[in-house]
Symmetry: D3
Subunit: 227 residues, 6 copies
């Protein structure tokens, strides 16, 4: 259930019996051969699936994240970290004002981790608010799937190559992860990462992808219990 299908009366009704919300953070940035919106699409798909099962409302996704290091790849739109923190704060405060009290943030992009710092500050201020954060690709579940199939998880690799993030054919084979000499700026990052994938296989069997998605969805459902 998305806000775009609702009007404010609907949300007022919803809030009479429910106080949970899912907020989706992502990025619009290079993902090798995959969609520039990969980091939005995956957590949004998880939110949609979880919403279908639980009825919990999904806020419209923030289509941009903090991705300065990929700005040498055309199509990357990056928010400064400071901007990102302000946006996330504004979204959470808006939700809190309406009476949402349990908010699960589904983050699709590593560069958005800094937002956690701001969320801790808000949680300290708003003591009746419960917040949870889920980064599917860093989860124990995802790690387990990767281990099971002996696949190396990395940016823009098989791990993010779901049917709904593919926008072109994917290379065969496995990429050797490049040597990363520290914390790189945008130009150096492009030189080092080439096609933008960080290493490992470009794709995996659909069975793997389904298992990965199911495992992450299970996590989301668990987190939505806010225990």
């Amino acid at each position: 259930m998305h806000l775009d299908e609702l009007n404010w009366f609907d949300v007022e009704t919803y809030l009479r019996s429910e106080d949970r919300l899912m907020i989706v953070l992502g990025a619009c940035e290079q993902h090798g051969y995959l969609s520039l919106l990969t980091d939005v699409k995956i957590p949004l798909a998880l939110a949609d699936a979880a919403s279908e099962l639980t009825g919990v409302l999904v806020a419209p996704p923030l289509n941009f994240g903090s991705s300065s290091y990929f700005l040498a790849y055309p199509g990357t739109f990056s928010l400064r970290v400071s901007t990102l923190l302000d946006v996330v704060e504004d979204l959470v405060r808006s939700a809190h004002r309406h009476g949402f009290r349990r908010i699960l943030i589904l983050n699709g992009h590593g560069g958005n981790d800094a937002a956690r710092g701001r969320l801790f500050e808000i949680a300290t201020e708003l003591s009746d608010l419960r917040l949870a954060w889920y980064a599917w690709w860093q989860s124990h579940s995802a790690e387990q799937v990767a281990l099971k199939y002996e696949l190396k998880p990395s940016h823009a690799s098989w791990m993010e190559a779901f049917p709904f993030t593919r926008v072109s054919d994917l290379p065969e084979g496995v990429k050797t992860p490049p040597h990363v000499p520290g914390l790189m700026g945008a130009s150096e990052a492009r030189q080092v990462y080439g096609d933008g994938m960080f290493g490992g296989a470009y794709k995996a069997d659909p069975v793997v992808m389904d298992e990965l998605f199911a495992a992450a969805l299970e996590d989301v459902l668990t987190l939505l219990r806010f225990e």
Copy 2:
């Protein structure tokens, strides 16, 4: 043509022969009986239609705008003005870095007007960048359609009741615009506006809506010529 269907290679190719981009600003806020995302949906529909005709790329929409005055209506998510300005700056700078040189901003929400001030500052700094701003509902074209059919344009009225923004039945009849005693905060705004519509008819004949959309699209196509 949206970024979510593309990868970075595609954008690099695009930029070899084209330097135009459409950025869509909107809001997630009460629109009476209409979708909370009305202010995103309309400019995005215009961008899509214009993109189909011209091939100009459309950035993913910013799903939130500055709407503090509607925060007493559940489902409104508001960015502070300062946040909005930073986001818009970040998007334009990202685009400029990649080589986009003519950017048309399609804004769907009056509360975002403040972003123009920041854009003037950026335009002053980046002298090789051309910027245009289009607020369809404030256009001469929209005014003409309203005058022709003797309809009063206003927030959440017939004017925004396109098939794709409707999420429930709409009331019959015409609402008398309430008396607005100055610049109101959120609580007072809800008291004054009640269902959230600002006055006039709740809906108009499909013919009117098609004419309105066509007129606005014509404006967008003109602006995309950047003359």
Copy 3:
């Protein structure tokens, strides 16, 4: 009644029986052949006249506004939008702290419109505060005078050429409004606008100017009733 003629004891006395205040926003920017302070002088003259009739206190004017687009015209001093918003917030919060509860902001400059966004946020936070905003040149009253005399209102034209804003002779005749290709930076704005006037007649008959001023003053007096 201006603060410069008063000491704090006087204001304390004033606040025992009155809670209204006028704040004047303007700009120090090119106005063609007119004074660089035109946008301060006009709302200040209105405030003075209204103060004489009502006894409502006038805060000292903010002599600078957001005018980045005119920075290629010498003598323009521009606040960044973010700075302007902070100043306006500080002034309103200071006034509120002292017990002012009805504040009319008389704005003389279009570039300051963004401040409205911040004012909405403050109004939402301070629920016992009533705010009104008046931009005389955008008023229905001013439009009526322009229509009556078939004069086109525009920046630095007859409309702002009051005796107290004139600092030199004014050209005869009527200027054709230049073509404005979007949202321009400072250098382009100077190329496009030349002498800085936006089009129409450079001056009008004193009768017109008196009528215009009287109409705007009437608006101010109405707004000061805060109904």
Copy 4:
């Protein structure tokens, strides 16, 4: 010579043969029995006198400063320190853009001292800009006059009681400076300072005041040589 008497053509002409500017910073804050605008009026009077003698242009004064500690005195309007710094930066950058290269800042208010920190940052960035800062009441000249007449200089005392800052009768006699227990907030400051004067005589002989003004003016003229 003030900007309000000029249009942009005049400033362009001025800049052909001159690159100096005076910027006046002040405050709108309690000054005991004196005008709330005392801290603007004094440096502005100095700037006017110096301008008459040298022809150097005077920017319109910033009518507000950083005065949070006086917010319990009605009529005080305070900018946050952060706001003040941004305003001062914007004014100096605007001037620099037009070609002003030697800027003398005449500050009338102690609370504005923090702006010096930002000015050092700007001076480091803009190496062709020369900046000078003058706080008349902290000058060696003012100290000499005070010593000569055995008068204690302090806020809102005789030292600021010029004919043009007086807005009421002044008490006779001498006030014992109160004990100041550290860095006080607004409420405590009012309790401690009572009528707002910091101690010493409330007024001095006109001869003293003339001598004081003349001494400060001499300083301004010296600084305008930018040696």
Copy 5:
């Protein structure tokens, strides 16, 4: 080699033949039974040891980090995330201005991770700057030591209990990690974490600690080669 033992002549000399610098980030926050400065002391000890071996200069430590979630534990001093980012930016820019071109940031505190986002932005802007970031407790080396001795690494546990971070006796035994219900504010964090330790053993054999330190030092030395 620390800056406190040097004057500016010494640094100028240093920069003639060397362009490396170590910057130490930490926190002043609860660490269970350990010193409140634990997160400064550990990376500083590593920096000192590495400096002794390589001669690379160490900047004075930033004694505070972003620790809002521990503010219910007395003695915790937290910078807002936004403040932290600004401090880190200022330090790196200062160093870059002097000619430091290879900077290794030794971070002792997880809450400071957000600073990486700002560093990526700076690295993108300053293309001649090489940055590396080291968080000893998240390193592969530390993980290996923990695995070897079957010790669970966690905040304020054995892992941080070096002789130089101990300020009191440490409990015997092993603490069961508490259940963490999402992203907690300060009050909830104190309820959940009790004594502040996150779980595992309170202390380890000195042999383990020496091995841990040596492994981390080896990492630092490797990173200082900036390969």
Copy 6:
């Protein structure tokens, strides 16, 4: 008593019977032949001595201050003024949250004065907090010692040449203060100040230094009574 020797239990105990705290601000900047950390070392030494006598807790020093004007001297690390203000605010708010109610800020660096403006704002907001500020080198006590021995106090001169700030031999003799042409940026400051000392004797007799330190310590002890 420093926080680095304590854990949070200790601070909780401390706060049961005491609510005072000393915060040390300084700088890492050129001090001629003296240590780059001179401005930290001196107030920290005072704090240590006062703590020994009174048991009042000392927070870890902020090792950086606002020193942009010295950025042309290698080894200077400068916080922007805005950053400094935020840091100081965060430290004071953290302390206040724990129950510290009387805070003495010992500042070692003139460029940090701007922080006082922010502290006034905080004091206005937190009415149960008492703040005091001490800049030893600007004190009446220090002035008296200088007068007594006919020594001119200035940056990096004898006045700061304590045994614990010396890191090299000091020149003999007396330096003539250079002519300072206004408010200088970093490059100009280096040209003007040469070795970085501002004028006067490079060193004084140990008896003088002991007397100076004792006088300043007496001030600190007096301020710690918060009368």
